[in-house]
């Protein structure tokens, strides 16, 4: 009950932010947790661009939180103009539960509506004392891993899928062996925090575990935040291509009359400037040619499996099969009988 009240309070607070402070349009961008710093920079750049182009002022308000929670807030009435979430399935949920976004949203922007992508990497302690270089090293010896809970965190679902992608290649699609590996992997997680930031704190500040499975940008951020000399980033040879999608919330922009500026806001993410800002915050740009080469150095080329790969078959299949109630992830923890 307590958390519901808090949620309600947060909702009211976010709603009050939507009231325009001055003339010109105001956009509300409802996003997930690790994009905070990126969108702060991007909003300033877009406001400048929009002023130069049309002479109008635009203010962009931000709301951040767990991706699923944010999607639920939009379904329940949070007046978002655009959503920039961690998972395609979260935007699909808005489409299905509230019909506020048109079902063809994914085709409306280039690159499956993902202007930037990311992947899952390992953050290890300085000197890599456990010698972790690839996914099989995670289940060797007494290595402990830290990951958030895939049931509550979008990032954690990508962690799980990245491990699955490696295991699928390693065990040549043998389902039992893949499940065995995933089970062993999650048995080595002493904590399942509810969000990606929580796991970063558990690993970096509390000193729990040997490897943090994290968003690439979150791993770099942890390095900056908690001291770059304390950790090392290990990029495995194979991982998942995480495509955090963006979409205009049709019902809301039509009601508010902000469609034009909302669409421009998302389109500008694909511009040279938008791509450079994304790369600066360690997101992988969808158009690397537009980006200064030294920004790309931090984002090494590795094999990235997409969610639409036959192994997974897209979010609409993955979500219920792996993360639904009683799905493969739930079975990991089922006590043996």
């Amino acid at each position: 009950m307590n958390s519901i009240l808090k949620g309600l309070g947060g909702l009211l607070l976010s709603l009050s932010l939507v009231i325009p402070a001055h003339a010109g349009s105001t956009l509300l961008n409802v996003s997930y947790d690790p994009t905070r710093e990126f969108y702060k920079d991007y909003n300033a750049a877009f406001a400048k661009h929009w002023k130069a182009e049309t002479g109008e002022d635009v203010t962009v308000q931000q709301s951040h939180g767990g991706s699923g929670k944010q999607a639920r807030a939009v379904i329940d009435g949070l007046n978002a103009d655009v959503v920039t979430l961690a998972l395609e399935s979260d935007i699909n949920a808005i489409v299905e539960k509230s019909a506020k976004i048109s079902p063809d949203w994914r085709a409306r922007l280039a690159n499956n509506s993902a202007p930037y992508t990311s992947t899952i990497v390992f953050l290890v302690r300085k000197g890599n004392p456990k010698g972790v270089h690839n996914w099989d090293d995670l289940v060797k010896g007494d290595v402990q891993i830290v990951t958030p809970n895939p049931k509550t965190s979008g990032g954690a679902r990508w962690n799980y899928l990245a491990a699955w992608a490696w295991a699928n290649e390693e065990f040549k699609g043998d389902q039992d062996k893949i499940k065995g590996y995933i089970t062993e992997l999650f048995k080595r997680a002493p904590v399942l925090d509810t969000g990606a930031r929580g796991s970063t704190v558990t690993f970096a500040q509390r000193g729990i575990g040997d490897v943090l499975l994290a968003w690439e940008n979150e791993a770099y951020l942890a390095g900056e935040e908690f001291g770059a000399d304390a950790f090392e980033i290990i990029v495995p040879p194979i991982s998942i291509l995480a495509e955090p999608p963006v979409a205009v919330v049709d019902a809301n922009v039509d009601a508010k009359g902000t469609r034009k500026v909302a669409e421009a806001y998302l389109n500008y993410l694909y511009s040279d400037e938008g791509q450079n800002i994304a790369a600066k915050h360690f997101y992988r740009p969808s158009n690397p040619k537009a980006v200064a080469p030294d920004l790309l150095k931090a984002l090494p080329d590795i094999k990235l499996v997409t969610i639409d790969d036959p192994v997974f078959g897209g979010w609409k299949k993955v979500q219920p099969e792996h993360f639904g109630d009683g799905g493969i992830f739930d079975q990991i923890y089922k006590p043996a009988r």
């Binding site: 009950m1 307590n2 958390s3 808090k6 767990g66 699923g68 929670k69 639920r72 949920a93 539960k97 809970n149 049931k151 509550t152 997680a189 002493p190 904590v191 399942l192 925090d193 509810t194 929580g198 500040q205 509390r206 000193g207 729990i208 993360f323 639904g324 109630d325 739930d330 923890y333 089922k334 006590p335």
Partner: protein, 285 residues
């Protein structure tokens, strides 16, 4: 409430020197309906739309049962610890005067004021394997953070003021002459405590216990940081509700909530009955 006499049978209106009975009763009822009954009725209504067979299968799901067991078990354990040590704290604050007493008295309320997430983070920092306290316990093989024991610790922290604050005023009312009389009549110290003092305090201790317990069952903010949240081991029922919401599975979330509500209500009702019984038994009113 003690002077309500029903000797002449039940009557709507109680003769009282203070007017406005109708007004205040009407206010009370509409307030309760608006603040408590309507939200809860909405919850039960939505759960009822599930249908009994589905509710039954959700209720007997082994993960749900484990989460409920962990939630109610840890809340019960924490409330017991608080009932014992809270009474001792209250006793010290009421009966002894020492430098800094006012300060300690105020500090008891801190768990009320502190946002629970802050409490959870602080406790986890202390009890994590590399934390100040955890570092001492780890070599002994004792793990607190990320185990059910951690949940109990968090709930003890959250629940302490409930016991202290309900027991304290009743203790202040106890006449010292009662203890002196017990002593002059030849009671030893244990008899004085267990046969003279505690029976009078028992209803207040029970109230404090019930409050701490109820608070512990519903606690989310502090627990998720220290629990570890491993399914079947340290996953509390409120977290399971959040997980169901993340799956957009509203009916299942409501079902778990309703089950928690029903169990809590039954337990609190039983505690109230024991209380009424003990009041009668020991003649305190």
């Amino acid at each position: 409430m003690a002077n309500t006499s029903f000797a002449t049978g039940w009557k709507w209106r109680q003769a009282s020197v203070i007017p406005g009975f109708g007004l205040s009763l009407g206010y009370t009822l509409s307030y309760l309906v608006l603040i408590i009954l309507i939200p809860l009725a909405g919850l039960v209504w939505h759960t009822a739309s599930l249908g009994l067979p589905e509710l039954a299968s959700l209720a007997t799901d082994s993960r749900t049962l484990n989460a409920l067991r962990i939630s109610f078990g840890t809340a019960m354990a924490a409330a017991f610890v608080n009932a014992v040590f809270g009474v001792i704290v209250a006793w010290v604050l009421v009966r002894y005067d020492f430098p800094g007493r006012r300060f300690v008295d105020a500090a008891v309320d801190l768990p009320f004021a502190l946002p629970t997430a802050v409490a959870g983070i602080a406790l986890t920092t202390l009890y994590a394997p590399k934390g100040w306290i955890g570092a001492w316990l780890t070599p002994l093989g004792i793990k607190i953070a990320y185990t059910p024991l951690g949940i109990v610790i968090a709930l003890i922290f959250i629940g302490l003021p409930f016991v202290v604050r309900t027991v304290q005023p009743v203790m202040e009312e106890i006449d010292r002459q009662v203890e002196e009389a017990a002593a002059t009549l030849g009671a030893n110290r244990f008899q004085t405590i267990f046969r003279v003092l505690l029976p009078g305090l028992f209803p207040a201790i029970l109230t404090g216990f019930a409050l701490a317990f109820a608070r512990g069952v519903g606690e989310y903010g502090s627990v998720i940081f220290i629990a570890g949240n491993i399914p079947y081991v340290s996953e509390i029922a409120p977290l399971l509700i959040v997980i169901r919401l993340e799956e957009f599975n509203y009916p299942a979330a409501m079902a778990v909530a309703t089950i928690m509500l029903v169990i809590s209500f039954i337990m609190l009702f039983i505690i109230n009955l024991i209380q009424a019984w003990s009041r009668k038994r020991y003649g305190y009113a």
